[in-house]
Symmetry: C2
Subunit: 288 residues, 2 copies
């Protein structure tokens, strides 16, 4: 099967996630954390740097007023500063921020930035818990950005727990999916990966795509985080996670491998789908 191809025939791509510990409400301090991570990634010849959800603003807002106080648009100098850091490189940065829309509507968004500036903004479509108090859910499908390092889809945190989301991106030809997250710490049985990582592994394998989830670190207003940052290959296996007190996961991947969906002599993850049998997915649950 002929698949969607990137504008550039990609070779190896170095993917990095940095599990920052932003401070809620501290736009200036978080900007320094973000720019520091960008500079270090540039020195390490990283092609795609993924940073956490709401890295620019922090997460555990006490009120919509507080969230609004750190809400910015894609025209904010933070993004121009990141673009400036990327000058003369082909690198891409994905970073979460609190986005101000019209009439003080707020979105939990992620920006995709290159040396040329902001390439795309995705507004999270599945909001988690208290986010519903502050944010309006996005109404547009998750984007695919055609980068020099492959076709990159973007999801944010809870989005990934809806199998429809990575599936849609894979059907549209994503090679890898960048997922800024803030995973509140849950309970995990001994010997198991955190549930969010299991869902990410399954999403990667069932769609044949690479996935890079960048969680956050630190404790914010008594909320602790899973610190589950992980880079996963197209078969669903873990390529890298931060170890010990580390905060960085890095992996060199070949994004174009995700374009081969064959998994046996006679099977193809996408061609084997039976869309006519999936009509149920367009509707809401059965009401009795």
């Amino acid at each position: 099967m002929s698949r969607a191809t990137s504008a550039v025939d990609t070779g190896v791509a170095r993917i990095r996630c940095v599990q920052l510990a932003p401070v809620v409400g501290d736009l200036a301090g978080n900007r320094n954390l973000i720019l520091g991570a960008v500079r270090e990634a540039k020195d390490a010849r990283v092609d795609v740097l993924v940073l956490p959800e709401l890295a620019a603003s922090g997460y555990v807002f006490s009120s919509k007023r507080e969230a609004s106080s750190v809400a910015v648009t894609a025209e904010h100098p933070l993004f121009a500063d990141i673009a400036d850091e990327l000058a003369f490189t082909t690198a891409i940065v994905v970073v979460g921020f609190c986005e101000r829309g019209e009439r003080d509507v707020l979105f939990n968004s992620a920006a995709v930035i290159s040396a040329a500036g902001v390439l795309a903004v995705y507004r999270k479509t599945h909001l988690w818990d208290r986010e519903k108090l502050f944010f309006t859910p996005g109404t547009e499908p998750a984007p695919i950005v055609d980068t020099p390092h492959g076709r990159m889809g973007v999801l944010i945190c809870y989005d990934l727990e809806f199998p429809e989301m990575p599936r849609s991106l894979a059907l549209d030809g994503a090679d890898f999916i960048a997922v800024p997250t803030n995973w509140p710490l849950g309970t995990t049985p001994a010997g198991e990966h955190p549930a969010e990582i299991i869902l990410a592994m399954a999403a990667a394998r069932s769609n044949g795509v690479f996935i890079a989830c960048c969680d956050r670190a630190g404790t914010e207003r008594d909320v602790a985080w899973t610190e589950g940052t992980v880079i996963i290959d197209q078969f669903g296996w873990i390529l890298d996670r931060p170890t010990g007190d580390g905060s960085v996961a890095t992996a060199d991947i070949f994004p174009a491998l995700a374009r081969d969906k064959a998994i046996s002599a006679r099977n193809d993850l996408m061609a084997d789908r039976r869309p006519l049998l999936y009509s149920r997915l367009q509707s809401s649950p059965t009401e009795s």
Copy 2:
């Protein structure tokens, strides 16, 4: 949200999977294995017994002629014999068989049987590898059977690797999903579960349903099996797997717990879906 409810308000249900080692082509011998497992389950007061894919026929056929030689219909005495064993119980058996349709068309099917006889037959809709040489894929959605032990969905093996399938069953109100499987042995990194189990855990968690996968044992014509039989709770965690040389997994579950899809004060696995954003799932991959 008001959810579909079972005809009977279910309490605890004892689910068992028995990882049989059927012999290809030996309908009489496999019948004895199956009836033995049914009798033992009855003695153990099992409510729902799940047996492997193609347990009645074996799996690694050398030709369509061989598959046809062990193909039966739902009227075959094997199913009446199982029903007879279940007399005066409310137990349910799910077992895979090679089904003969009209004009010698063959299906990789699973029968759902109670004391009253065959309640449903599901024809596998996603065929794996050489199955495509022998079987015709089913054209009907996977069924939900309203049993005294909860609303049971049925999938077969590779079906479960398509997130659309468990999702559709959950949307239609399944409490648990019985999955007869034959998982050919693959490569698993040290410390990880087999990939099929990771996919099953993710399917259970993202849909809030219990899942019972019954794999097979033994080596058949040089094909070895994962022996990955597993019963998983509605949060995606493993309740039981066969240990050592064992072949049995058993768990007492409360199927009705799957009807509560709330996962936080403000989140519900089903109500949080955004079906209008999932239209991509109805179509085939992008062609370039």
